[in-house]
């Protein structure tokens, strides 16, 4: 499943990041990495608000599309 398709409140584990763009290096440094648990807190417009450990990270769906979760 893609991170983009996760339902509100659901908690998932990141399996793979397939994005090749530079911005994914930042996404990873912010804690969205293989093996991490993330929960979807909120969806507003094109953005997802995720809880990653104790921080809250917002990413747009065009990035979430490249993140495989289960």
């Amino acid at each position: 499943m893609k991170l983009e398709e996760v339902e509100l409140g659901q908690e998932v584990v990141i399996v793979d990041l397939s994005g090749k763009e530079e911005v994914f290096k930042k996404v990873e440094a912010m804690g969205l990495r293989r093996g991490r648990r993330v929960a979807l807190l909120q969806k507003v417009g094109r953005n997802l608000l995720l809880k990653v450990n104790n921080s809250r990270v917002v990413i747009s769906k065009d990035l979430a599309r490249h993140i495989e979760v289960q």
Binding site: K25, N53, N54, S55
Partner: protein, 688 residues
């Protein structure tokens, strides 16, 4: 005195700015990194005979140079050669933050860790064994609370000890295989690991080495380094953190439930913006007026008396009274507004609400190619363009910042409303419709400008959205006031001097050659006559109109009073003799009145910024005679779009650079001319 240069490094939102504020106190200065629009904060503190220079690096998650911020941080560490790095780590997100720590250790320079906001971490069930962390890294770890300032002073003692003992962290070891490859690129003994990694990953001559790595590790060299860094950070985290499970919902979650609510979040934002708008403009307006009176009715005549006593001539006396003191007063009148807006912006920023605005508003703004946060400066623009442009500092990228700076001046402010209501009431049956259309025209031109800029100068890059929402925190008043002071100081130094010098030039244009009584005989009058043909196509070839535009460059509403003097050609009325005790009493009373009307303004539901005072009748009669409705409309359109505002140009100069400010001024003039021309011709055709 010995000087120590200290660089503060840390992830965004870890409270680095607050720690810097507590360390540097009022010595803090803001500016930009050379050649960048990224803000640079600098301060100094004296301690035990040492002068410590504090340099705040941009908040970054990694030192890999991806964006402008990371380049700046990386370059400063490698080329700026700080004596010491203070790594601020947010306790509750230590796992993520340790990645940057590991990357800093690769630079092999003295490091000190400030473990910040331990109390928040404890509430979340995160307990950190700071002694063990210190032991593992060979780095001192000091607990701090950036919000209250607790533990921050203790840092100073450690900074000096680390500096004097030349304490270096324990060497960082990656896997044996990777270390062997790194040794193969070593050319000098003292090359830090960061340099070895950069050479290995980037230099052309090591391409074959990278291929060798790929063969033996089964993945790209870059991936190998990245994975080892993460593994190191994760290993450290596992060693030093103990987790308890806590069930309590934290305040951030509860507040986000309301403020980021899918349906209520947006109305709440607009309500908050309305309150901010109201408080900032209504609260500062009476004080701005009072300052204006204080300078012009007390300080200026006092200087005049002094100069007369010294035997100065009439022209010189007027120069000091009107140009110099008046110019200083003009700059100062901006201060209450800038201060109040900064206070509220800092409150929004430090409390953690501002980043959430970006998240909430992105759904509308990204369609226009703008950052969600852009809405804040754009809305403030309706109150006054000057602080609105200053507020673009909250935008992170240069692109977003310049785009919004180019849009703000088209947001019609109350200064324009004063002019519009004068002309609209005089010439049109439905003044409200005319004024409303002018506001819409301004907004339209702002968006067209943004589209043009995106298609030309700022095109190309795809725009993703990635950001962190920090936890809500209540900042201390001391932190807010200090921040306000730092920015007001910066405004006075940079924009203030520019506003002052330009206002003196304008005064000279109106008062040269010495002894002129009427504007028509002054330099400005000649310039006005010379440029009149340019305005012919707009129907505004009357030299009196073009001349009144010259003083109106100070601020648009001045156009009315300057038209008054030019049209009626009246010589300035004789002022009543100045009496010190009377004037002093008057100013004290006026100050009391300012406080009272600030309070009344706050309580009344309608923003007082939009209440327009009536202009005197004599000017109305003259102007009604001199202009026709098409000319009046063309004039309003012109004044709406042309950046006839010294304050705006000055802050633009400060925020985006001289070139940008001057080009924008030219652009706004051309757009205003074109729109004025179309309005005039269109109106005439339509009414035929």
């Amino acid at each position: 005195m010995k000087r120590i240069t200290l660089a503060l490094a840390g992830n965004p939102n870890v409270g680095k700015t607050s720690i810097l504020n507590h360390l540097a106190g009022t010595s803090l200065k803001v500016g930009n990194w050379p050649g960048a629009t990224v803000e640079k904060k600098e301060g100094r503190v004296e301690f035990m005979g040492y002068e410590i220079i504090l340099i705040d690096l941009p908040g970054v998650y990694t030192l890999e140079p991806l964006s402008e911020e990371e380049w700046i941080a990386y370059r400063f560490l490698t080329e700026g050669k700080p004596d010491l790095v203070l790594n601020v780590v947010e306790a509750s997100n230590i796992e993520r933050d340790l990645l940057l720590t590991v990357e800093l250790l690769e630079h092999e320079m003295p490091v000190l860790i400030a473990l910040n906001m331990v109390d928040e971490a404890q509430k979340l069930g995160v307990e950190i064994k700071d002694r063990w962390l210190s032991e593992l890294l060979g780095v001192r770890v000091v607990r701090t609370n950036g919000r209250t300032g607790e533990g921050v002073r203790a840092l100073l003692q450690h900074i000096i000890e680390v500096y004097n003992l030349k304490e270096k962290p324990k060497p960082l070891h990656y896997s044996k295989e990777l270390e062997e490859f790194l040794q193969r690129v070593r050319e000098k003994d003292n090359e830090p690991k960061a340099t070895l990694i950069r050479k290995l990953l980037q230099e052309e001559r090591f391409r074959s080495l990278r291929e060798e790595i790929k063969r033996s590790f089964g993945k790209e060299a870059y991936e190998v380094v990245k994975d080892e860094r993460y593994a190191k950070a994760h290993g450290l985290f596992r060693e030093v953190v103990e987790r308890r499970s806590v069930s309590s919902r934290d305040i951030t979650e509860a507040l986000d439930g309301i403020l980021l609510h899918p349906t209520f979040g947006i109305p709440l934002f607009f309500l908050l913006m309305f309150l901010i708008f109201k408080v900032s403009f209504d609260l500062s307006k009476p004080f701005m007026d009072w300052l204006d009176g204080f300078i012009n009715k007390l300080i200026a005549p006092l200087t005049g008396l002094l100069l007369t006593a010294l035997g100065a001539g009439e022209w010189l006396k007027r120069f000091f009274e009107e140009a110099v003191i008046g110019g200083v007063g003009f700059v100062l009148t901006f201060v209450p507004l800038i201060a109040v807006i900064y206070f509220l912006l800092a409150l929004m920023e430090f409390s953690g609400y501002l980043p959430r605005v970006a998240f909430l508003m992105d759904r509308f703004m990204h369609r226009l190619g703008l950052h969600g946060k852009s809405l804040v400066p754009l809305l403030l623009g309706f109150g006054c363009n000057v602080p609105a442009i200053v507020a673009t500092r909250t935008l992170e990228t240069k692109r977003d910042k310049l785009l919004v700076i180019a849009m703000v001046p088209f947001m019609s402010c109350p200064a324009r409303l004063v002019v519009f209501s004068f002309f609209a009431v005089l010439f049109f049956k439905n003044p409200a419709v005319v004024i409303f259309s002018l506001y819409l025209l301004g907004i339209l031109v702002a968006f067209i400008t943004a589209i043009i800029l995106r298609k030309t100068a700022f095109g190309g890059s795809l725009y993703h959205f990635v950001m962190e929402l920090p936890p809500y925190r209540l900042p201390t008043l001391r932190l807010l006031f200090r921040t306000v002071w730092v920015y007001v100081k910066d405004f006075l130094y940079r924009a203030g001097t520019l506003i002052f010098s330009a206002s003196v030039v304008i005064w000279l244009a109106l008062s040269l050659p010495p002894g002129v009584k009427r504007p028509s005989e002054s330099l400005a009058g000649y310039v006005g006559r010379a440029i009149a043909p340019v305005f012919e196509p707009l129907g505004l070839s009357d030299w009196r109109i073009t001349t009144s535009l010259i003083p109106a460059f100070l601020a648009r509403e001045i156009v009315l009073s300057s038209m008054g003097t030019i049209y009626s050609a009246e010589v300035k009325e004789e002022e009543k003799p100045f009496e010190l005790s009377e004037a002093l009493k008057e100013q004290v009373l006026a100050f009391g009145k300012a406080i009272r009307s600030a309070l009344i303004n706050i309580l009344s539901p309608v923003p007082s910024a939009f209440k327009v005072e009536e202009e005197e009748g004599s000017l109305k009669a003259v102007v009604a005679q001199a202009l026709s409705p098409p000319q009046a409309l063309a004039f309003m359109v012109f004044l709406l779009l042309y950046t006839s505002c010294l304050g705006t140009v000055a802050v633009m100069w400060r925020e985006a650079g001289k070139k940008f400010a001057l080009l924008f001024l030219l652009y706004s003039f051309l757009v205003a001319w074109l729109a004025g021309f179309l309005t005039y011709r269109g109106f005439i055709l339509w009414s035929m």
